[in-house]
């Protein structure tokens, strides 16, 4: 391995290790469904957030929600309220809480909890149908949650 490639590998590894300021899923404090502080300790990137929301293996929010603010999504679902104007209805902290675990805001919600790792019945390793080996990761990382929240904050009417 050349020196430069090796350095790149170190950098990649460093990126995969959670930053010190990151809040782990089990340590998240909800106040009436809301989460005050950034879960990653970093600001979110709305463009990345839109990608997370429309990628099947990530947020796949469009399976249930329409978002006119994201053009060219084919066949959005009709199960949940359209997300346009959502930043007028909820604060950033409330939106972070809804995306992390909507059941803390809407009791018994059909919306999955994207930043939760415990308390499931027969959880599987992603969509493999098999039991997970080792700890179950949340569906989205702390930074992906922040990216989604940053995008939702742009949805004003």
């Amino acid at each position: 391995m050349t020196g430069r490639l090796w350095l790149a590998a170190v950098a990649a590894f460093a990126a995969a290790v959670p930053a010190m300021s990151e809040t782990a899923p089990k340590d998240v404090a909800f106040v009436e469904g809301a989460i005050e502080a950034s879960l990653s300790g970093m600001p979110g990137n709305p463009e990345e957030g839109a990608k997370v929301m429309t990628t099947n293996a990530l947020g796949n929010c469009v399976a249930c929600h329409q978002v006119n603010g994201i053009p060219n999504v084919q066949f959005p679902g009709t199960i949940a309220p359209p997300l346009d104007g959502v930043a007028d209805r909820w604060s950033e902290a409330q939106l972070r809480g809804i995306v992390a675990n909507a059941k803390m805001t809407f009791e018994g919600s059909f919306m999955p909890a994207f930043y939760k790792t415990e308390g499931f019945i027969r959880p599987g390793a992603a969509y493999s149908g098999k039991a997970p080996e080792g700890d179950l990761p949340p569906i989205l990382t702390a930074q992906q949650i922040e990216d989604v929240v940053a995008f939702l904050m742009t949805l004003k009417e």
Partner: protein
């Protein structure tokens, strides 16, 4: 966009009639919900009503229905002398029409053994005990070909599985599973097929998840799918560890889901996308 959603929300109004050598069969694809469902829904619909025009049309004509190839394969297997001592299904049961009615009442508790029996369980009992062969895999080609052939013998008959008496404990267990929110997405069968039937989950029009049409020919897989194979797919999609076909859980679930369709016709081999 909201409009498109509402327009699609309802099951399509349509009638399924198939011409056969023995005359036309008119299927019950919409009917009043069985008593045990009355508090959650009024009407039950076959999954046929939720599919596209082209997919529905494929099921109207046996020459167009790709599932019929598997029925023919089942017929060949029925007649073959495959047993350890040269036994065949036909040798003991004569024609497959001897299986008429079975698909409409299974899963059911076998009076002799008290075991919950699917069509597949009955087949394997003969394969192992009466033909001296290794059990066929629950989702193997042989098993599904035979399932297709046997289901066709009850085509047009009304599903009527027993849920009381010896069946009651199995039915209760199946019901509990139906309402359990499995997996990392914490979703139950009822969340999708009861609360949100008629809605679009991305590009999929959610049906009531009935199994009167099973086995189905699935265009996406270009093959036959058993009810429990479909359950595997649905549970996997909740980011859950699935149960296996023929597990006690899925057998109980199959009985419970079948009972939600009591009153709909057996479709023999249906076509879904």
């Amino acid at each position: 966009l909201a409009l498109a959603g509402t327009a699609l929300a309802d099951p399509v109004e349509d009638t399924l009639v198939v011409e056969t050598d023995d005359g036309a069969i008119e299927f019950v694809t919409t009917t009043t919900a069985p008593d045990h469902l009355k508090d959650v829904m009024d009407t039950i619909y076959s999954g046929w009503h939720y599919r596209e025009d082209e997919t529905r049309d494929l099921q109207r004509d046996d020459f167009d229905n790709p599932g019929m190839v598997f029925v023919d394969r089942g017929m060949d297997l029925w007649n073959q002398e495959i047993g350890a001592k040269g036994e065949s299904c036909a040798g003991c049961h004569e024609g497959p029409e001897s299986m008429k009615g079975l698909r409409a009442v299974t899963p059911r508790v076998d009076a002799g053994t008290g075991a919950l029996m699917t069509v597949e369980n009955y087949v394997n009992e003969c394969v192992t005990e009466r033909m001296g062969l290794e059990a066929w895999g629950m989702t193997s080609d042989k098993m599904k070909d035979m399932l297709a052939l046997i289901s066709m013998q009850s085509r047009g008959e009304v599903v009527n599985v027993a849920i009381d008496g010896a069946a009651a404990p199995f039915w209760e267990k199946g019901k509990e599973i139906y309402y359990t929110r499995f997996g990392q997405l914490e979703m139950s069968c009822a969340n999708c097929h009861e609360d949100n039937q008629g809605q679009m989950i991305r590009a999929d029009h959610l049906s009531q998840g009935q199994i009167n049409g099973f086995p189905v020919y699935r265009l996406k897989d270009a093959g036959i799918l058993s009810a429990q194979q479909r359950f595997v797919g649905c549970v996997r999609d909740t980011r859950a560890e699935t149960f296996k076909p023929d597990s006690d859980e899925f057998k109980a679930l199959e009985l419970y889901v079948a009972s939600r369709g009591n009153g709909l016709s057996v479709e023999g081999v249906s076509v879904r996308h």
